[in-house]
Subunit: 301 residues, 4 copies
């Protein structure tokens, strides 16, 4: 297949490389020309604008952008995709954005004859490089079936979450719960260790009991509990605190849009905000455990 | 073995029956004489006071009481166990109480020659009846080894959590995290469904992703997500909201004793308090999901 | 003076009437023609678009709009004010919006020769009708001095908060604290009454002690504490819960923009969200006290 | 009058001195003999135990103790007051304890013929020394009237809060609201200053608007906002963070006893707990503003 790919950042670039490796022809676009070079060196063609990508004779276009504003601009802007793409070309937005914007754009696209799916990912830059991402897909059955083989070149698990926008819904709901349970794990582990337990033993007990969660089993935040966790390597790698902050912000905004409270979600977001303020925004989000330790305080003025 | 057993409530009675079934001789005590009759009918002897239990020639004494005040009274009171028990008899308190009281009593007991373990359980009344409880044990290696065969008549998993009090520490840390992740699961599931997802599909996605936890996998709070969960039977059975409230209270008190904040823990406790105020204290704690639904409000005055 | 006025809603219409009463000539615009008629009946001229208002020979233009999106559109849109207004005309936006948008628009305006102030108000529809609003003004000293006499026709207190955007900053900071202290007052009053105190006596004690705040003194949420409060008339009138929800949302967004946590602010917002979900969004925000009462619960599915 | 006084700590000692200055005869008791000497040097008699105080021919006994456990022991213990005091002697407990214990002891006292009031104070060590404390009194009308002239030697405002225990209720309700509004003030002030406002101007605006509270007017937490606040002298003096932590703990326990949630109260308590963990437990509680500043973080392990 001939595929357009827009957005060659930390996630998009390795995803595009995996498409090339799988034998697809690629036309890429990014405002960062160094990122573009890396792909053209590997055999991709380059285009000068989103509209120019659509001008190529592509079968499908994939976007991987930082936030909703970029997605809106790339799809709906004056030299954007929708104004230039020919009828029938499939569109897949892999960015993590709010469900409402996702639905709004997909609706416009489908009305002009372009089936569109939202397909945000989890798995981080490691998963993007290894081609082991999880794609949470919102769209029609036909759209899902058509996109699946292409997405499989970049990911291991491709899940259909229901109609348009539901990929984003699944992602924000999952990640909000992740943010809550990680902070909860940090509190429980710190509590137990402060009361005299060995971190490893406590983690083992929780992991075979009702408190167990991904955050205690796979990414335990307490140093010494798990050798393979970011906590064992100074909270490097993993899923950055500032990215968690962004995703929790999307969840809370989405909750407001349907007038639902998310009380623990809102508190957890502020915990990550506190962590970020202290200069840990680039560390793995499990560094939230640092909020429960003795530390130096600054002065507000 | 000849075993004394004090506290024949909803948990203690079936535990005592399991000890009888395993072939142990039993001397029981409770202020509720109907509960005592049920055990004497099954072959146990009865004693008139805690001290009287200790007066029998028992090898071990097990207590299963509602709260720290009862445990203190039964062990340290005037006609209590420690004043009457002969040197060398092993003591096991299976009540869920704060770690400090557990350590204080165990310390007094061991100084007078009675090895003592704290061994709170999880698994509920169902696990007590079926003999499938988990015991979280704090005490010496010798104490753990000696008690383990007896506890195995009542439970399936007997875990050594470290020195005296650590059984209680493990339990409060686990249950606080459980209380947080259940409320988080309620928020995430409600958010996703309100935004248009099917409850079952959302649960499936979370359960294979990073948000997964016991509360989404085994006890999903959202109706329709899991047929075997309390949510599928009107939030009956399971682990009562008021019991969760008690355990979270122990966790927060324990956190204060070591001067550690538990921010999400404190909020989650208040959510269960709100649920209890609304008359749901006797329902499974996953009924916390009701806080996120439209409902009638009362008037404060 | 000849003044353009855009936005004739519940707040804007009475404000515009007060300008007419003060002897100013008015050119008004709103998409709601009934609202326009009310003003033209009283002597104002009407314009067909924001640009048309600017086309009149006005000395100053005042806007009073629901949210940032409307403000952006009215000022920056194709037939918007900035494209049509002649150099030197003073601009005053009385809408409550985020400080960043306020600064962005004021910056564009001032660069093209139009001094602009942000001047959000407090005092509600009652204050708008009575001409007793408080204006919190952000802008230059010159801009403040020039606008003050005009604003005095609509309000009693005109406060200069510093450079452009600071009017919005003052308003969101004040209202976030208001939202927190009202919910805190609801908790403290409910706690005291539940423990046996008379609501009026408790309010009197707090009001002469360190817990006192506007929410206990002027708008006490507990029924029976204060005869002049919305609580004494079924939570009608006053400052609507959904408006508080909007302002707290602006505060939390503004906090994110400067990477500061607002932990109590985030929790309080979710409390008002819960209240709104229960159907009380149109009541005075002091109805938040209802969250602490026994009530019927709904079922999520 | 001849008055017994037990508890000569930072609060009790200056209170006792003020009673001497007012011309009362005093019999004092404390386990700290240095504290006792300071009073006997000033003319008081000393007793060797609570019971011995009661043995003197006193008309009234006042207690000022750290916590409920001490109060219980001093009144109900084996050589305690109630066992030794003659019928008719009035009792006044000025300690800050939970309402239930206060009511329990007053009930026992009144049944044996000793009218008892609870009379916790606010005003701190400064108010104790200056004789300007506020007394919140729970008890009968007769008890209040009888005690009032004595309390006036130590305080400026003596408020009758209703029947026994209500003095404690008023105090915990007020102080919980104080703890919430101070943390809210810290968030609002930090938010406004971070967004570009001058601290003093922001405080002035809030203090004439709806966000105003004792915490912004009298004890503004932000450096530079108020010259007379603890924030202007390094958060020294004032009301210690650890004392606020104790009072909020009493409020939350009291809320649990009547099954009422206190959601903001619980979060605010954890904020003071976080502050205390960082080593600021001895500073004025307005130092909570430090939580919202950039700072160094420690490592949990």
């Amino acid at each position: 297949m001939k595929i357009g790919f827009l957005g060659l950042g930390n996630m998009g670039a390795p995803m595009a490389h995996n498409l090339l490796k799988a034998g697809h022809a690629l036309v890429v676009f990014d405002i960062n020309l160094t990122a573009v070079s890396s792909l053209t060196d590997a055999g991709a063609a380059a285009a000068e604008s989103p509209a120019a990508v659509a001008g190529h004779d592509v079968d499908m276009i994939i976007t991987m952008l930082p936030a909703a504003a970029h997605v809106k601009s790339v799809y709906l802007g004056e030299s954007g995709l929708l104004a230039a793409v020919r009828k029938g070309v499939m569109l897949a937005d892999c960015s993590t954005i709010d469900p409402h914007t996702a639905r709004e754009i997909a609706d416009i696209a489908s009305k002009q004859g372009n089936p569109m799916i939202d397909a945000p990912v989890s798995g981080g830059t490691g998963g993007a490089a290894a081609g082991t991402l999880t794609f949470m897909v919102g769209g029609t059955d036909a759209g899902f079936s058509a996109a699946k083989p292409v997405l499989e070149a970049m990911g291991r698990k491709i899940v259909h979450c229901g109609p348009s926008g539901n990929g984003q819904v699944a992602k924000v709901a999952n990640n909000m719960l992740l943010g809550i349970s990680m902070a909860g794990a940090a509190e429980a582990m710190t509590l137990g260790v402060s009361l005299g337990m060995d971190a490893k033993i406590l983690a083992d007990i929780i992991n075979t009991s009702t408190g167990r969660c991904w955050s205690t089993e796979v990414c335990n935040p307490y140093p010494g509990a798990l050798e393979t966790a970011p906590a064992a390597r100074g909270y490097t790698g993993g899923f950055g605190c500032d990215l968690m902050l962004k995703d929790m912000g999307l969840a809370i905004e989405a909750a407001r849009s349907v007038k639902r409270p998310v009380i623990l979600g809102a508190v957890a977001q502020q915990l990550y905000q506190t962590l970020s303020l202290q200069g840990h925004g680039g560390e793995d989000f499990s560094a939230v455990v640092k909020l429960y330790s003795e530390r130096q305080t600054g002065n507000p003025a």
